[in-house]
Symmetry: none
Subunit: 230 residues, 2 copies
C-alpha cells in the first residue's frame, strides 16, 4: 500500500493548478506541480509520482504528446495518467485514451468527482505487476501457477529466469539495457554486476532452446536485449 501517493499536476494555468493542488492535498496526497513539459519531466525524474494529472492544452508540448512519451519509456510507462480537458468532446476522449491516459475528466469538474477518479485509478494500479497469464509467440506463462510452456511442452525455469521471461513477454519489441533489466527484474535496491544479466539471458535461452524459441530473445549490440516475435 502506498503510504502517501504522490500526484503530479501538470497544468499551466496557476489558478487551476492551485485548485487541483489544494484538493489533492486535502485528500491526503502529496501534490507536485509542473507548468510545462520540461518541468514535468524534471518532477517525474526526481520524485517518481504515483499518478499524473495532465492538462490537455499546454504551451509548447501538448498533454497528448507528453502522455505518449510517458508510455514510451520503460521507467514511466506504468504511471497512471488522468487527462484534464476543457471540452467534453467525444473525439477528444478517444484521442486521450488512445494516447495512453487511464481516465479522463472535463473541466469544470467537481472536486468530489476528481478525487473519486484519482482513487479509482490508484486502486486499479496497486497491483503493479498484473498477475495475468501471458501468451505470445508460442510461449505461455502463468504467474499464478508459476508454469511456462513452450509450444505446449512445459519447461523448467528458475525464479529469476521466470521473472525475466515474464518481463520480456509483457514488454515486447522494445530494447532494454542491462541496467534497465536489473531495475525492472531484480529491483532497484539490488546490487549485482551488469554482466550477470548476460548469464541469465543465456540460461533463459538455454531453457527455450529445446523448443527452438530461443531466438525470441535478441541481442542488440551496444544497447541490450529485446524480446521480439517477428
Amino acid at each position: 500500500m502506498i503510504v502517501q501517493a504522490k500526484i503530479l499536476i501538470v497544468e499551466d494555468e496557476p489558478a487551476i493548478a492551485e485548485l487541483l493542488a489544494f484538493n489533492v492535498m486535502q485528500a491526503g496526497f502529496i501534490a507536485l506541480r509542473a507548468e510545462d513539459a520540461p518541468s514535468a519531466w524534471q518532477q517525474i525524474r526526481d520524485h517518481a509520482p504515483d499518478l499524473i494529472l495532465l492538462d490537455w492544452m499546454l504551451p509548447e508540448t501538448s498533454g497528448v504528446v507528453i502522455a505518449k512519451q510517458l508510455r514510451a519509456d520503460a521507467r514511466t510507462c506504468d504511471i497512471p495518467i488522468i487527462m484534464l480537458t476543457a471540452r467534453g468532446d467525444e473525439r477528444d476522449k478517444v484521442l486521450g485514451l488512445e494516447s495512453g491516459a487511464d481516465d479522463y475528466i472535463t473541466k469544470p469538474f467537481s472536486p468530489r468527482e476528481l478525487m473519486a477518479r484519482i482513487r479509482a485509478v490508484l486502486r486499479r494500479h496497486i497491483p503493479i505487476m498484473p498477475e495475468e497469464n501471458v501468451s505470445i509467440g508460442g510461449l505461455e506463462l502463468s504467474p499464478t501457477t508459476h508454469r511456462v510452456t513452450a509450444k505446449g511442452h512445459g519447461i523448467e525455469l528458475g525464479p529469476t529466469e521466470f521473472r525475466l521471461l515474464q518481463f520480456f513477454m509483457t514488454h515486447t519489441e522494445r530494447v532494454y539495457s542491462r541496467t534497465q533489466l536489473l531495475d525492472q527484474v531484480w529491483g532497484t535496491q539490488v546490487f549485482v554486476e551488469e554482466r550477470t544479466v548476460d548469464v541469465h539471458i543465456r540460461r533463459l535461452r538455454a531453457a527455450l532452446e529445446a523448443s527452438g524459441l530461443d531466438n525470441l530473445i535478441q541481442t542488440v549490440r551496444g544497447s541490450g536485449y529485446r524480446f521480439s516475435v517477428t
Copy 2:
C-alpha cells in the same frame, strides 16, 4: 552518461573520508571532500557535485540538517544524496529518507555495495529524454526498439551507423561538416580522425543501397554531408 561524475564526500573522520575518496576515485569518479557543513557548502558552490555522500553524524550541523537545507534550495534540491550512518536503525533510515536522502548505507559498508548504490542513484537521476520514432523518405527509425526499416524491409546497422542515421533523420536538409558530425554523433570528448566520418557514411550508404535509398545521404564537396529527401 556522465563522463566523470563529481562526488562530494562530507565526512569528519579523516580515515573514513580517505577510504571513501579512494573507492570513489578507484571507480572512475572525481572525489571532492568536506569535513563540515561550511566547507561542504563551499564545495557545492564551487564544483556543483553530481552526488553527495553525507555522513549522518557531523560536528556542529548534522547530516540531516544539511540534507534538508540542500533540498530547500532550488539550486541544490536536485543533487542526489546518499546518507552514511553508523547504526542500522530503522528509525534512522526513515528519518534519513524523509530528510531528502535518495539512499542510505550503514557503516561498515563494503566498497562494492557503496559503489553499486552510487551507480544506482546516479542512474536514476539521468534525465529522462523521450525519443520519438522518426519516419522520412521511406526510412523508419525507432529508437526504442532499435530498429530501422527502409521501404518496409528491415536493415541491419551497427551502433555508430544507427546513431548517425538517427542524427541525419532528425536534422535533414542541412549540411554538416565532419567536425560537426563527430561532435553530434560521436560526442565532443572523443578524439577520432575526421576521415573516419567518410568511412561510416560509406557503411551507412552500403546498408541503404539494397533499398535504393543511399542517395538520401549527399556529399557536399568541401563542406560535409547532407541528408535530403528532395
